[in-house]
Amino acid sequence: MKIIVAIKQVPSRDAQVRIAPSGNWIDETDLEWAMNEPDAHALEEALQLKEKHDGEVVVVSAGPERVAATIREALAKGADGAIHILCDDLGARDALGVAKLLAAAIQPEDPDLVLTGLQSEDLGLGQTGVILAELLGLPHATLILHVEKIETGIKVKRELEEGWFQSIEMPLPALVTMQSGGNKLRYSTLMGIKRAKTKDLRTVTAVELGVDAAPVVTLEQISAPKKQKSTQILTGSPKEAATALVEKLKTEARVL
């Protein structure tokens, strides 16, 4: 089973993000970068499928030089090969533009399954995976927590609202966008890093892929969110208040 995982390098969770003077992008100097978390779960799911059913996992990522570090991390965790689409102007491309780049690199690989993250932690558009599926002509499913291989293709578990889930059977080849939290991420190992040195990492440029960049959607302005404070007093007995608190932490604050 050949699985392609599209991953994006985003500013790390901890990063102090500042808006660039131009006002339509962030100031990238001094930022620390990390693998987009839903993409990390997509990678993990791919690796687990490979371990269960044999096959190959290739990661694809678009971005400048610095993206190579995240790609190597994916190789160290167990991916077999990687394609780095070198492009320095990712911020100026829209979701369609990025999806076109990815599609151009992925098409010749002829994968059985493409996994992407549900959305990125920086822009959070949630569109790139879906557009990519359309460009590749693949059936797709979004918000997936778990992928299981069955005889007729795959069976996926999809997260709905209010604690509900949906089960869908799909034929292969297909594309699935993955939600975080469906599986336990593995840590990078010394053995993984050493083996990664010998793995196939190919670099291509946007020009080589022959993809035009003119965006149909332009990002005009970015601004910092306005801080708001909201206080809720929970009434009732300690037990009732505690139950209500747990409910809110689960469904509203979403930290449990």
Partner: protein, 631 residues
């Protein structure tokens, strides 16, 4: 005076058949010995060489050998009565070396000690004194093992009984020689009894734990050179102790040197609280592995002879290694086994993975945002280090993010300001890497160490003071593999140097019922760094010090070390609760700690004890009490 000494009777002549018989039996004995010892020696020599092992300078090695082997210091100090008895047996053996040589030479007419001559009489008399002492000692040890049956000696061992009997017989047949007239046939009989006992003893040595007679002096001499010394990895294929092929000569030698005394087990906090880990069984497990699979095997070490679960229950407190009289170094072995599991991804622990991922993505072991640290610095107006101050105050993960750790930092900051000592905190700090180092994640440790060293060099940090003994140890010793760390010391050492200024004004007593203070020695400050007095000087500023039953180098771990503070709930009793109970039982009103991990562990343990539990304070907090509130 010479005539007062009894004369040892020896046979004058031996028949040819006697000589032939002796040669044949001696040959069989040596053969029996070699048949078992030869393969053991090959297994040790066939093991991988130890990277980074240096024999010279040998001065320290010789001193250690004299102290631990010849003077039996460790043997006696940690178990005085039984230890002294063993020392007597050992010294008797040493004295008997010449006697035995002479005994065997006698049958060929080559005896060099004349029982009638001056030298001979004196020497045989000295040997007789030792023989007497040895007889009493071995009888006492026999009673201890077979009648008293201390639990750390394990199941009753018939071979120990046999050896004791042989030693007894050797001494008895020697001493009897003083009471038998020189011409009697009994003299010849005694000679043969002694000789046969010797020849029976020799092949038994490599078959039993008495192999330590030969090997433990080498183990002590060829030690790694420092306490809890974790060896560097060598080459691209070295991931730690994964299979037999990773066992090095030092490890193999130590595995065969174990005398099964159980001192390591006795002092192990995991073993004392019902966990699977037993340091003695880890070492004997390696011996069993070597006996069955050998040093070239691809069979995993964590399998038949050692369990992964046990290996990850270790807090790396070092009590085992510190106690071992045979020179076995347990900590590098346990960390080595962990490395083998973690560096290859074989360790699948939910909490462990969470810790590693937190440090892969972020800067601290608690997985919190660096904003939290920044806010702490800002809120308390801590100066940033800019190269002009004397000290870099290293916050560490606990000092920057943990509530108790922060209190300790702020107490130290108050004192440093009072002392007018300039300091600054780093704008950005990554975890020193202690938990991942002890858990065996070399990839992550290298990344953290290199990143930190680079930052420290960039800011031109010359001296660091830290509140956490784990940070201090890791910065000073473990980072050395990747660069040259700046000087680092623990805040107890810093405070002790300034103690005169801290006495004025005097630190008030901490409250009614709090006159007596018990200090808990952190593992990484005491055993690892040999600092026992400085923190006591600080604690003693505010009251009268009392000692816990297990203190100083015998201190009982709080349970947080070895990365365990970040792993899940432990099996069996909680180590921290056991230690807290021991500290509370001293009757002290205050428990003084010097490590943020100990502080956090005991905070929870004492809260579980409810009202009436002693108060818990760090030594920095005790010292800061004496400062005026306006500072």
């Amino acid at each position: 005076m010479m005539s007062l000494l009894p004369t040892l009777a020896e046979p004058r002549h031996f028949a040819l058949w006697e000589r032939a018989l002796f040669v044949a039996l001696a040959g069989a004995s040596v053969y029996g010995f070699w048949q078992r010892f030869g393969p053991i020696l090959s297994r040790v020599l066939d093991s991988k060489k130890d990277p980074g092992f240096r024999l010279f300078p040998a001065g320290k090695r010789v001193r250690q050998f004299v102290w631990e082997v010849l003077l039996q210091a460790k043997v006696i100090r940690e178990r005085p009565l039984a230890g002294f008895a063993h020392a007597l047996v050992f010294w008797a053996f040493c004295v008997f070396a010449l006697v035995t040589l002479n005994h065997c030479a006698a049958i060929f007419g080559l005896a060099f000690l004349d029982p009638a001559g001056r030298v001979g009489r004196i020497y045989f008399a000295i040997a007789a004194l030792f023989a007497l002492a040895c007889t009493v000692a071995i009888a006492g040890l026999f009673v201890r093992r077979f009648l008293i049956q201390p639990k750390w000696l394990g199941e009753l061992s018939w071979e120990s009984g046999l050896i004791a009997l042989l030693i007894f017989t050797l001494m008895a047949t020697y001493l009897a020689g003083f009471f038998v007239p020189a011409q009697a046939n009994a003299v010849r009989a005694l000679w043969w009894a002694h000789a046969l006992t010797l020849l029976a003893f020799l092949p038994l040595i490599p078959h039993t734990k008495h192999l330590h007679l030969l090997l433990s002096p080498f183990s002590v001499f060829l030690s790694r050179g420092a306490f809890a010394q974790i060896p560097p990895l060598s080459g691209d294929e070295d991931f730690g102790l994964v299979t037999g092929r990773d066992l090095t000569r030092i490890v193999s030698l130590q595995a065969y040197s174990c005398v099964e005394c159980g001192r390591c087990m006795e002092h192990c906090p995991a073993n004392a609280t019902g966990k699977e880990l037993n340091p003695k069984e880890i070492i004997l497990g390696l011996r069993g592995y070597l006996n069955e699979f050998g040093p070239k095997s691809e069979e995993p070490l964590l399998g038949k002879y050692a369990s992964q679960q046990a290996a990850f229950e270790c807090t790396t407190c070092g009590a085992c290694e510190f106690q071992c009289p045979a020179g076995i170094e347990h900590v590098p072995i346990l960390v080595g086994l962990r490395r083998g599991a973690v560096n290859t991804g074989a360790w699948n622990d939910a909490h462990g993975s969470k810790l590693f991922l937190a440090l892969e993505k972020g800067s601290n072991a608690l997985g919190l945002s660096t904003n939290e640290r920044d806010r702490f610095i800002e809120k308390n107006a801590l100066p940033l280090f800019d190269g002009t101050q004397e000290y870099c105050l290293w916050l560490g993960c606990m000092g920057a993010y943990d509530p108790r750790g922060r209190e300790i930092v702020l107490a130290l900051v108050r004192i440093m300001r009072h002392l007018r000592v300039t300091f600054g905190v780093l704008r950005k700090e990554k975890c020193s890497g202690d938990p991942v180092r002890r858990l065996g994640n070399d990839l992550l440790f290298q990344q953290l160490a290199e990143s930190n060293l680079e930052a420290l060099a960039q800011y031109r940090v010359k001296k660091i003071v830290a509140i956490c003994p784990h940070c201090v140890r890791t910065i000073q010793e473990d980072w050395k593999v990747f660069g040259t760390p700046p000087e680092v010391e623990h805040h107890s050492e810093f405070l002790a140097r300034h103690i005169e200024k801290l006495r004025v004004p005097p630190v008030p007593l901490l409250g009614p019922g709090k006159e007596r203070i018990v200090f808990h020695d952190p593992c990484y400050l005491g055993r690892y760094r040999n600092v026992y007095d400085e923190p006591r000087q600080i604690a003693a500023l505010a009251g009268k010090l009392v000692e816990a039953p297990r203190s100083r180098e015998r201190s009982f771990c709080c349970g947080a070390g070895g990365g365990l503070a970040f792993l899940g709930e432990e099996k069996g009793d909680r180590v921290s609760h056991v230690r807290a109970a021991e500290l509370a039982a001293t009757g002290a009103g205050v428990i003084a700690a010097a490590c943020p991990f100990c502080n956090t562990m005991f905070r929870d343990a004492l809260a579980a004890r409810g009202d009436g539990a002693p108060e818990l304070m760090d030594i920095a907090q005790i010292a800061a009490r004496g400062l005026s509130l306006e500072e």
